[in-house]
Amino acid sequence: MADQTNGDAFVAFEHVQKSYDGETLVVKDLNLSLPKGEFLTMLGPSGSGKTTCLMMLAGFETATHGEIKLDGTSINNIPPHKRGIGMVFQNYALFPHMTVAENLSFPLEVRKMGKSDREAKVKRALDMVQMGAFGGRRPAQLSGGQQQRIALARALVFEPELVLMDEPLGALDKQLREHMQFEITKLAHDLGITTVYVTHDQTEALTMSDRVAVFDDGRIQQLDPPDTLYEKPRNSFVAQFIGENNTLEGIITEIKGETCVVKLEDGQEIDAVPINVGTVGEKTRVSIRPERVEFNKDRLKEGAHTIKATVLEFIYMGDIFRTRLRVAGKDDFVIKTRNAPDQVRLEPGTEIEIGWLPEDCRALDAD
């Protein structure tokens, strides 16, 4: 991973390492910088080190090695309460013994702000999340979504320049979550706040972020805008982790500039873009998104390789059809087709030939 640090970064991790037990590294040489106003998501499976990074930024964990900078100055030795970073917690962490207004007023009180100023700011923050009428309630009297809004308002009420969010939508149901995703993004952009958002939900990461950092095994596997991340994964882990993905294993038989030919285990050959591969003769794992697979020959490029497939299962999902195929001896190859009026519904047992544009098929590392 290239060193992304630059001079005018608002938040910067420089060669940060973290170990809890002195034997294993939870975060291995993290380098990351984000400019002011960016919405960055740290995405990864549990145990990948993303939450640890967030906690180091917030000041609840200390980096074993390396430096974390905020607005150009190192904050390694600054205690959390002096960092001025807003934070939204997974379970909201609204103080149950205070009313909503008191919760919001708390960060202003500890900053010794006058009473009238506090009240004005609390009111503005509550209005901002459309919770103006709930100031007198206790957190326990609110629904999950409402608590979420209050937690957000509390993290923003003292006007921090950086806000951290630790899986804030994890406890909400799907519909509410989608709605809140939209609201959080809009709020962050409207206020111009720099946001670091941690989640394990890739849909959330893709829909909300300016950039997504995919974490695995204590490292950032890829740091890119959502579309790049989805369409141009740089390794097998990212390809697998983001969205649905078909993988086929094979050996590279030919590399011609921007394309290569991969020979699958059953001898069939396919076209792919070499991204993360060695030389001819080495193993590779190719990745194709289900919606980019084509079985209508008219839509394929002249001379493109096709391979044989057997339809195993057809699943009607409303907006799309999902068809499971047997390809090169594997039973888990999935294609997705839009439910258009002229779309073919494949019958199980049918033998078809499938293909794709070479640029949609990426040859990646084999492990």
């Binding site: 917030a58 609840f60 309460h81 103080f95």
Partner: protein, 544 residues
């Protein structure tokens, strides 16, 4: 819907009203539940609730005075003790007859002990009077006897007093059978009402208490006294019944100027000068109602007086001091427990599970040792020749001749009880603190609060329910504690419970013990109520 149009009760499928089938279905469940709790319910009822009810009853119950001295209580009804005068002869007469039968039944000493709680000396006065009352009656008995030996014989008396039918039935009576109830002859009853009453009491006593026939027992001197009183007033010249001659001779004797008499008052004076002090009569009158608040007044250092309740002499007040001390020391113990337990609980709830378990075992260790052993250990530690004093002397902090007094006083009680009750504070605190998520403190810090503000404004308020639960537990336990203050408390460190135990087992003043216990119970309930009003009982958590 047919249900909506049907105005009658909703029916179940087989046509019975739905309510009834539901009740039937639920009845079995209810019976089952009842049977499951029945053993415990009965156990608690018999061993706990009934004794407590009995205790509450004992604290106001006072039937002994009216039961033992019914005539005196009636005679004293209009007595004005505040006047400083003695009651009239009628009262002394009533007291004579009451105490006579009570002494025969050996009940007078019990009454004496009861009145002794209210007036010191009553116990010995009554015991002495029980023996001395015969002196009054013997004046008359001897004179009647000198007149005619038959006055000291059982049978002539019975013939004179008894109804012929009763005499016949009693004559046939043999041991083991039920005795016929004594019935006085009509003429005698009219002529000699007092004698008939006293003889009836005598007969009943012989029949019921002794299982002996009145035909074979000589009447006691109270009957002779009654006879004298009756003869002095009545005209027996028209009497023709059995033993008429005997009676007429006695009447003549009583009428003669030589007949020696004695007033009841003089008789009582002869027995004990104390009877000439209105105080004892005031006491009897004051405690004559069947229900009394005397025990309660006593328990709050008050006493009854002719002018109503008043505080006792400054020197005699003890319970107010003890109650205050008990509450004060319980509070000190509770506060010490809070101060000691809070950091430990905080540490426990923030340590990793393994270390927390080890620490928990250390906390619980005292629970596995006998209470007596722990208390005795404190005795060893704190006494003047004990471990702590030895160490202080050895390191030179205390001179050998001025060793600290740390036991048999309040200090010793507070130290030992704080130690003993500490786990009751730690456990609820720990279980509440372990439910406070660390994210609250993190959130507070991220919002800009310093460590102290975070603790004071965010962590502490959420740990209050644990403090509350622990405090209630420790305070209620300590307010009724007995063993530890008894062993290490000395005279200045004892609790009200030690006094209650004293009245239960040593002074046998159960009424006072019950009143003290009731007040203690009321104080605890009052504090509980106050706590509920101030903190809110739903703020008390023992866990989760």
């Amino acid at each position: 819907m047919s249900d909506a149009t049907n105005s009658g009760p909703v029916l179940s499928a087989d046509g019975t009203p739905l309510k009834r089938s539901l009740a039937r279905a639920l009845r079995r469940q209810k019976m089952r539940a009842l049977m499951l709790i029945a053993p415990l319910l009965i156990f608690v009822l018999v061993t706990f609730i009934l004794p407590i009810a009995d205790m509450l009853w004992r604290s106001v119950e006072n039937q002994i005075v009216t039961n033992t001295m019914p005539r005196t209580v009636v005679a004293l009804a209009d007595y004005d003790g505040a006047s400083g005068e003695l009651p009239g002869e009628a009262t002394f007469e009533a007291a004579y007859y009451d105490l006579y039968i009570a002494a025969e039944r050996k009940l007078h000493t019990r009454l004496g002990s009861r009145l002794n709680y209210e007036q010191t000396g009553a116990s010995s006065l009554f015991r002495k009077s029980g023996r001395g009352l015969d002196d009054i009656g013997e004046v008359y008995m001897d004179q009647f006897e000198d007149l005619d030996k038959n006055w000291d014989e059982a049978e002539p008396w019975a013939e004179l007093m008894g109804d012929p039918a009763w005499l016949e039935a009693q004559g046939k009576w043999q041991k083991g059978q039920t005795q016929p109830t004594f019935k006085a002859s009509g003429a005698i009853k009219e002529l000699l009402p007092r004698t008939a009453e006293q003889y009836a009491l005598f007969a009943e006593f012989q029949q019921v208490d002794k299982d002996k026939s009145p035909l074979r027992e000589e009447p006691w001197s109270a009957v002779h006294t009654a006879l004298y009183q009756d003869l002095a007033e009545a005209d027996v010249s028209g009497y023709t019944g059995p033993q008429a001659d005997l009676l007429k001779a006695a009447d003549a004797l009583v009428a003669s100027p030589d007949f020696e008499t004695v007033t009841f008052k003089a008789g009582f004076e002869e027995i004990d000068e104390d009877w000439m002090d209105p105080e004892i009569w005031v006491t009897i009158q004051t405690y004559s109602p069947e229900l009394t608040n005397g025990y309660f007044l006593n328990a709050v250092d008050m006493q009854k007086s002719p002018d109503g309740a008043e505080f006792r002499d400054e020197r005699e007040r003890i319970y107010g001091l003890l109650f205050k001390r008990t509450i004060f020391m319980s509070m000190v113990i509770t506060i010490s427990c809070i101060l000691l337990a809070y950091p430990v609980s905080y540490l426990l709830s923030n340590l990793p599970a393994r270390s927390a378990n080890l620490l928990m075992i250390l906390v619980l260790l005292p629970f596995w040792t006998s209470l007596l052993v722990r208390t005795s250990a404190w005795k060893v530690m704190l006494q003047q020749q004990g471990v702590i004093n030895d160490i202080l002397v050895w390191i030179g902090m205390v001179a050998d001749d001025s060793r600290l007094t740390m036991i048999n006083n309040q200090f010793g009680t507070i130290v030992a009880m704080t130690h003993i009750l500490l786990p009751f504070m730690i456990l609820p605190m720990y279980s509440v603190m372990s439910t406070i998520p660390p994210s609250y403190t993190r959130a507070a810090k991220s919002l800009g609060a310093t460590n102290w503000t975070t603790f004071w404004r965010v962590y502490f308020p959420q740990s209050v329910p644990g403090i509350g639960a622990g405090s209630i537990l420790v305070f209620i336990l300590s307010i009724g504690y007995y063993i530890t203050p008894e062993i290490v408390g000395g005279t200045t460190g004892t609790f009200i419970s030690n006094r209650i135990a004293y009245h239960i087992s040593s002074s046998l003043n159960w009424g006072l013990a019950a009143a003290l216990g009731t007040i203690l119970l009321a104080v605890v309930l009052l504090l509980y109520w106050a706590y509920d009003r101030i903190v809110g009982i739903d703020n008390v958590k023992l866990g989760g």
